[in-house]
Structure formats: C-alpha cells, structure tokens
C-alpha cells in the first residue's frame, strides 16, 4: 500500500484497501489493551489517562473499513473492559460499539494512513467516547457525573499522540498483500 500525503478523502471505496490481520492479532491485541487498562494504572497511576482499548478499537475499525467488524470489535472490547471495571456490563460495550461503527464509517471515506488524520481521529473519538459515556451514565444509570471538557480535551490530545504511535506499531502486524 502506497501512502499519499496529498490526498485525504478517497474518491471511492476501492481506493482504500482493507487491511488484513492474522487471527491472533484480533485476539491478543485487544486483550493486551484491556489488560493494560486494568493493570498498568495500578502500578503507574500517571498512565491512567491512557484509553488503550479505545485506541485499539479505533485502529481496527478504521483499518478494516467494515462497520460490522468495527462494531463487533468495539462491543467485545467494551464488554471485556466492563468485566474488569466497576461499571455495569454494557456501558463501555455500548460506547465502544458506537465508536467502532463510526470509526469504520469514517475509515471508508478517509485515508486513514495519514498520520495527522490518525491524530485527529484519535482525538475526536476519545472526546466522543468520553461524552457518550457521560451521557449514558446520566441517562441510563441516573448518576451525577461531571464532564470536564478542558481536561477531556487535553487527555484526548495525549491519547491521540499515543494513538499515532500505537497505530504505527500495529501497522507492522498487518498482513502483507
């Protein structure tokens, strides 16, 4: 796959090639992301701002360019994340499902190989993830939860930067056509 630094929008879906990964990648990478989210902040609290499952979901969704694949990855990762968190089952599942669906929808039309695009997508979907989680917490659970937009934006930027690096790392796990 050749990288074009001049074109961002794809004229048709055929221009964007579907990235393929080995089977274990779909199993191991999300699992590591969830484990990272569950255990790393315990030992390194300063890394608790990282939302690794979200970044993994976004990556697989935009690279697979398939909405069903994206929402499936998002649902599974989210449920796994719910299982290891104190939130009720389904909260992160629903959020990550929607993130995977919309990320796949974006990946169909945008050249997601571009680093800046990846940065923007990482930033945008982190904000979307946090906002959707806040809405569901208030609407479905009836809990009073604050939404600090400034802090969320900063954390989202950091996650986006980390995501660009993570996406470059995960690109190495793609099958070569």
């Amino acid at each position: 796959m050749t990288y074009s630094g001049e074109r961002i929008l794809l004229s048709n879906q055929r221009e964007g090639q579907i990235s393929r990964f080995r089977k274990w990648v779909f199993l191991v990478v999300p699992l590591l992301a969830v484990l990272f989210q569950a255990y790393v902040p315990t030992f390194f609290p300063k890394l608790s701002f990282l939302e690794m499952p979200l970044l993994v979901v976004v990556y697989f969704a935009i690279m697979r360019r398939n909405q069903i694949s994206g929402l499936t990855v998002g649902a599974l990762v989210g449920l796994a994340q719910d299982s290891l968190s104190k939130s009720p089952l389904g909260m992160f599942g629903i959020v990550n499902t929607l993130v995977g669906y919309f990320a796949a929808s974006v990946g169909v039309r945008i050249d997601v190989e571009h680093g800046f695009i990846r940065l923007l997508l990482g930033f945008f979907f982190f904000i979307f993830h946090q906002f959707l989680y806040w809405v569901m917490t208030r609407a479905l659970l009836g809990q009073d939860m604050t939404f600090d937009l400034a802090r969320t934006a900063v954390v989202g930027l950091l996650n986006a930067i980390v995501g660009v690096a993570l996406f470059a790392l995960l690109d190495r796990l793609r099958e070569r056509s």
Binding site: Q67, I68, T72, A75, L79, P88, G90, L141
Partner: protein, 480 residues
Amino acid sequence: MESLLNRYRNITVLLLVIMAQLVLLAVSAKNPEDVRFIRIWTVTAITPAARVLEGLRGGGNGFLHNYVLLHDTNAENRRLRDEVDKLKMENVFLKNELNTADRAKALQVFQQHTRSKTLAATIIANGAGTNSKVVFVDRGTASGVQRGMAVVTPDGIVGKVIAAYPTASQILLMTDPDFAAGVVTDKGVHGTLKGNGTPQCKVDYVAFEEKVEVGEWVYTSGDDRIFPRGFRVGIVRTVRPGQPFKEILVEPSGNQRGLEDVLIVLEGVHERIPDAPSGMQSVYMAAPPPADETKPEVVAPTTTPGTEADRLRSQYKALGDEQKHQWGENPPGSKPVDLTKLGQSPAPGKNPATSPAGSAGAPASTGAPAAAPKASPAAPSTVAPPKSSPAATPLTNPPAKAAPGAAPSKNPPAVLPATQAPAAAAPPRNPADAGRRMNQSNGAALPEGDQPVSRPAAPAKQPGATPAKQITPLPGGAQH
C-alpha cells in the same frame, strides 16, 4: 425484505448489538435502591403507555356513556328533577321551621327583657274585608286579653286589640286606616301615627318647622294610653314639607319577619326612648340651681308673679326699666339693653338670694336671644339649650332629675350636644312652635303613665304665652 436488510445491514447489526448490550446493562446493573435497571426501565417505559391506554379507555367509556348510551337519560332526568323538587319543598319547609323557631326565640327573649307583662299569641285568621287590616289571634278574654290592649312583636308594634272574645281576639293592624297611636321620633318630635291602608303609615300633626329626617326611628310616645312608651314603630322613609303639618311616611318594623306570632301587652310599662345617634359635640351646661332657692318658687308661687315665664318676664322688664329700654319700641340704632346685668339686678318680687342662680346662665341666656340676639354674644356658650329633649332628659340625664334635692357642688355639669346650643340661642320663629315646645316640656315633666295625648296644634292658639313659656326653666331643675 431481504434487499432491505442487505441495504441496512450495518445499522441493523449496530442496533441489535446496542440493544443486546442495553439488556445486559439493565440486567446486570442496579440502582442505589437495589432495583435492577431492567425493571426500572421497563416500568418507566410501560407506565406512560399504560397511562395513555387508560386515558383512552376512560375517555372512550365516558364518550360511550355520555354521548352514545343515553337511552335512560330522560328517565334519570325526570327522577332527578322530582328529587330536586322534593328537596326544594323540604328546604322551604325547614326554612319555615327555622324561621318559626327564630321568631319564637325572639319572642321569648323579648318577653324576658321587657318590663311589660305580655302574652304570646298566634295569628290564626285574617279579617274578611279586602281593605281591612284585621287579624285574629288565638288568645282571648280567657287568657286575660281585653279590648284596647297593644299588640307588639320584638321588632315593633303591630296593632291593638279591638275585640276580645273568650278564645280569640281581633287585632287591628297598624296599617289599617282606622289605626292611630301617639309616636315620637328619637329626637323628640311628637306626632300621631295613622294607618294608611298601605304598607307604610303616616305620622300626622308634625308641624312643618319640625326637623324630621329620613331614617329616624319612631317610637311610641305613650300618649295614647294604649302603647307603652318606647316601643319601636318604624323608620321614617319619606318626609315632605306641608302646611301646616309635614307629610311623613313610616315603614313599620313590627311585621318585618312576617306576622305569625305576636305579643299582647297585658300590663304596659313605659320604656325609655333610645337616644338619637348623633356626632354632635357636647357643650358645658351649668349645674342646676340650689334646691333651696328654686324650691320656694314651686311651693310658694305667691312669691313670684305667676309662672316662671312671668317671673322672667318681670326680670326683663325690670332690667329694661333700669336701662330705660322699651321692649319692642326702640328704633333701629338705639342702644340695646345690656343683658349681662340681668343676674345682677334683683327682679321685682323675687328673693335676692336667687340672683346668683340667675347669673349661672340658665334664665338669662334662654331668654336673651328673643329680645336682642347680638347683645349677649357670650350667652350661648353657657346656655342650657331648650332643645335638650324634655322627653329624653329625665331618662338620659339623671342629674337633671335629681337636681331639686341635690346641692350644686355635688352635681357634675351635664353635657349636651353643641349643635343644640344655637337652637337654644336662636329666637323662636313661630310662636306656635314655641308653644308646642312648651307643651312637650310640660308633658315630659309629668310622671310616666300620666302623660297626656299629644295635641300638636293646640299651642298655636296661645301665641301670647309662648315666648315666655319657651324660656321657662322647669321648676324641678331640669335644663332644657
């Protein structure tokens, strides 16, 4: 259908996955009250729908019964109307019962409070004549009723007994043209109440210069020897000027609650007439003269030339002679008589010891305005006004009654309305008026129960004596 699913496959899968996770969330999560969210959401989702369905069911049911199924409405309507009519009749009956009970209670209370001996009676029939205002009551001679007795209610007089039978009596109502009774207004104006054949009665023989106002209460004066004094008669509704008498119409108050139960006065006791309500200012009135000085004038009339009026007349004459003043003959511009020296110069034929009493103001001030109103500007302020009603004074002013036997120092000054002072100082405009006032004064001084029937027109025939009699103080010391 298949193509539709293929077309929206992605979104369908998304919704299914979301729904599945929502169910999972609802089943797994609980609220702080330990209720699963699936139950909360289900109830929250079902309740509005159930409410809407219940509203639709109730509305439809109501519409069905109120607009569609009306086959028994007419029958129910008739039944309800009959019931309403029945309840109305019961209501009227109960109101009548209540009214009767109220009247009976009022009669009982009135009987307990009045000093007159009364007998309760119930009206059992009306007179047969179309114009006659006559009724029959169920009490007769067997109960002590006699012809001529007064019939009253707690609200006022009703009529009088014109015929007494063993078991019944015939009552002439006060609205009958043949009815008459002596009355007095609450300001002391006497007259004769006459039936008019209408709901209102007229008060006759009230001179045109008398002041009677609409809204005044009229009471029995006791002059007729039928009705004891002080019973309510009615309220003045119409006052028209007339010559020589006013046309006064009174609305009787005795039959305001309807005539069913009345009281027959077996033994009447005169009551006091309530004071006229007024916002007048009170003025100082001097204490009555000492009893030992006024008493000889009464018990020894030989020491004074005639009546009190004659004595005062002689005093004024002596004063005029002393100042070389001819009463009624001096031309305009001549020096008026100095009436301030009236009490200082001893009157002929009068004991000098009475001079201080004369200077106290009563005789000098009452008589002075008739001759020279401007000559004694200070006189009205210390005057005992003659308008202080002779009928009311003995009752409302106890010191006046007790005056003959009491020392002046022990009698506090009586107080009278200020607006009565000008009336006292003003000269009488009409000799007949003055004479009538004198008659009223004398009548009031008589013992209760012995008062004569008022004859308003009679004093007009004695013009010669009226000016002097008007200024005459009562021998008993009553100031008027």
